[in-house]
Subunit: 348 residues, 2 copies
């Protein structure tokens, strides 16, 4: 499917007039039910986008871009969204945000709503997309219809979609290697909500490359990515004493873990080293400033908006191109929570 | 204006047929320009809502609610939005979020976009609405057209709009009185972005009721409500030594100020007491847990969604009613950043 499907394609396929197709798609009483059904089936099979939406795409742009997030409480995703919004505003576009609340049904519903509201394009932080057939199919259909959609995630899945994202695998790999390079041998990892497959693979690969064994008992997945859950995870994983370092999949989790350590009289980094993800402002201003993995939000949002605008302006031809995958490299921000000291306190 | 204006009202007013009005509003070539102009003028004067939108309101609800925020980085507003979104989802509605980026032009533009996208109703955290004629007029017109809109702010302005909000005046009053009751006499207040008129009046009234004089030199307004700006504000306001307490208009500001104090070797609360606003999770998990002013988000969002649903179901009659103003009382959450000690260290 290399260009937008038009009513004439459906008409040709069925050997009926364009007028018949048009009336059938409008559910007109002038067309018999059998024909309507056939037209609608072919329209679906060809990923035909309803007239009103196609019209708005071709003739009158709405200058509104949709943005789908799993949650409006994830600060780095929010920062990314706000940064993109500023770039859109500077180009005369407004942004409309919807959340999926980590629910795959809301996710596809949010896509439907944005399409029906005739946005000119969509950015999306997908929720665990590797395992969500429904979202995958919807995204594929949208792209096949030449509708600009850009995923802000997508390291290790094969969906043929345009994507701009941080390499999470490499982020976890770098963080874990940083810890092993300082002599840590018992490194726990904690996740909020669900295990991140890419991060987990990076963590395991780094352990392996450092000659360490992966120990499933040193993985904790808590309810969400809050301070409170990080506090809980630390109490769980540090109670029995062998763990000397924690990699947390988010900074709030890391800061909650830090709080638990401090309350227990554990020194950070001397007794327990901690690394987070995302470099939130809270991490810079923490009692022990946090070492963390992050990406240049500015770089990601610049690449993402450039790609979106190119898709919008090349809309008739864009699916001739292979989906573009733009990977942003993560950086390790070294602060004090993971200093160059071993548990014993001596310098490495 | 006590009910929705219909095309027949415009027709009657001008002595023309409904068909003429309908065609004129569609900018049909079958109507002469003079008549079109007249019809459009009367439509505007009567706050007529374009057909497509009115139709969606009356006949086919979109089950989408718009939400306008000044910024998606304000955590308590985000929490409020998310809480409302959950309630909407539970009732079969989806939410669409737009931000005004603290810009009055974007604010009215966001309203226009949501209206044109045919949302069933709007929630809005207005930006400094007391001083924004354009937003005020737009909100008034929307309400006059029986379109459900609820402001989530609005203590001290007289806009005839439905509103559900925390009493900011009382919040600042309570916080300041708490500080004066502990013997503080030199109490600074810091704002991020812009001075909040309601909070400021509450602060001044509490000083007065405690027999203290208001000192404009003890007011700092910094660029935004971040940790970094709170850190800057503290360095500015505490350098010369007379101030013993800080009321910050947001928790991040307060936590930034706390960090500056700790770095300077000042004890909190013994040397400097700090109170914030909003009770963010970071405040509970801070190195010195933060005393703060907040409201029950659950209470506010319950009242706000109830009001919205009643406006949606009574849409034909709602403007007969006086605008409802629901005020939520703030509470003081006492933690350690503002303990019961005076500067000298002795207990009160």
């Amino acid at each position: 499917m290399n260009r937008r499907v038009r009513q004439q394609d459906i008409a040709r396929k069925l050997g009926v007039s364009i007028n018949t197709v048009s009336l059938a798609l409008k559910d007109s009483g002038r067309i018999n039910e059998d024909t309507k059904l056939k037209v609608q089936e072919v329209a679906k099979a060809l990923n035909y986008i309803p007239n009103s939406i196609a019209r708005s795409l071709v003739q009158k742009r709405t200058f509104v871009i949709g943005f789908i997030l799993p949650s409006i409480t994830n600060p780095i995703q929010i920062e990314t969204a706000q940064n993109i919004e500023r770039k859109l505003l500077a180009n005369g576009y407004n942004m409309m945000l919807m959340t999926s609340d980590y629910d795959k049904n809301y996710e596809t519903k949010a896509l439907d709503i944005l399409l029906s509201r005739q946005v000119d394009g969509i950015f999306m932080f997908p929720t665990d997309i590797q395992n969500q057939k429904k979202s995958q199919e919807k995204i594929k259909a949208i792209r096949d219809a030449n509708y600009p959609i850009i995923l802000l995630s997508g390291g290790n899945f094969n969906l043929p979609s345009d994507s701009v994202y941080m390499n999470q695998y490499l982020g976890a790999y770098k963080a874990t290697r940083h810890l092993t390079s300082m002599g840590h041998k018992e490194i726990a990892i904690i996740y909020g909500g669900a295990r991140n497959t890419e991060k987990h693979q990076g963590y395991i690969a780094a352990l392996k490359d450092s000659g360490l064994e992966y120990n499933p008992n040193q993985v904790a997945t808590v309810g969400n990515s809050s301070y409170e859950q990080g506090y809980r995870a630390a109490s769980k994983i540090l109670r029995n004493g062998s763990v000397t370092a924690i990699l947390a999949s988010g900074d709030y989790l890391a800061l909650g873990a830090l709080r638990w350590c401090r309350e227990q009289g554990l020194r950070v980094p001397e007794d327990v080293a901690i690394i987070g993800f995302d470099d939130l402002e809270a991490s810079r201003f923490a009692e022990i400033p946090l070492t963390t993995i992050t990406y240049k939000v500015e770089e990601l949002t610049t690449r993402a908006t450039e790609l979106l605008f190119s898709l919008i302006s090349d809309q008739e031809t864009s699916t001739w191109l292979k989906p573009r995958k733009v990977e942003i490299e993560p950086t390790l921000v070294v602060r004090q929570s993971c200093g160059f000291k071993k548990r014993s306190g001596e310098l490495l």
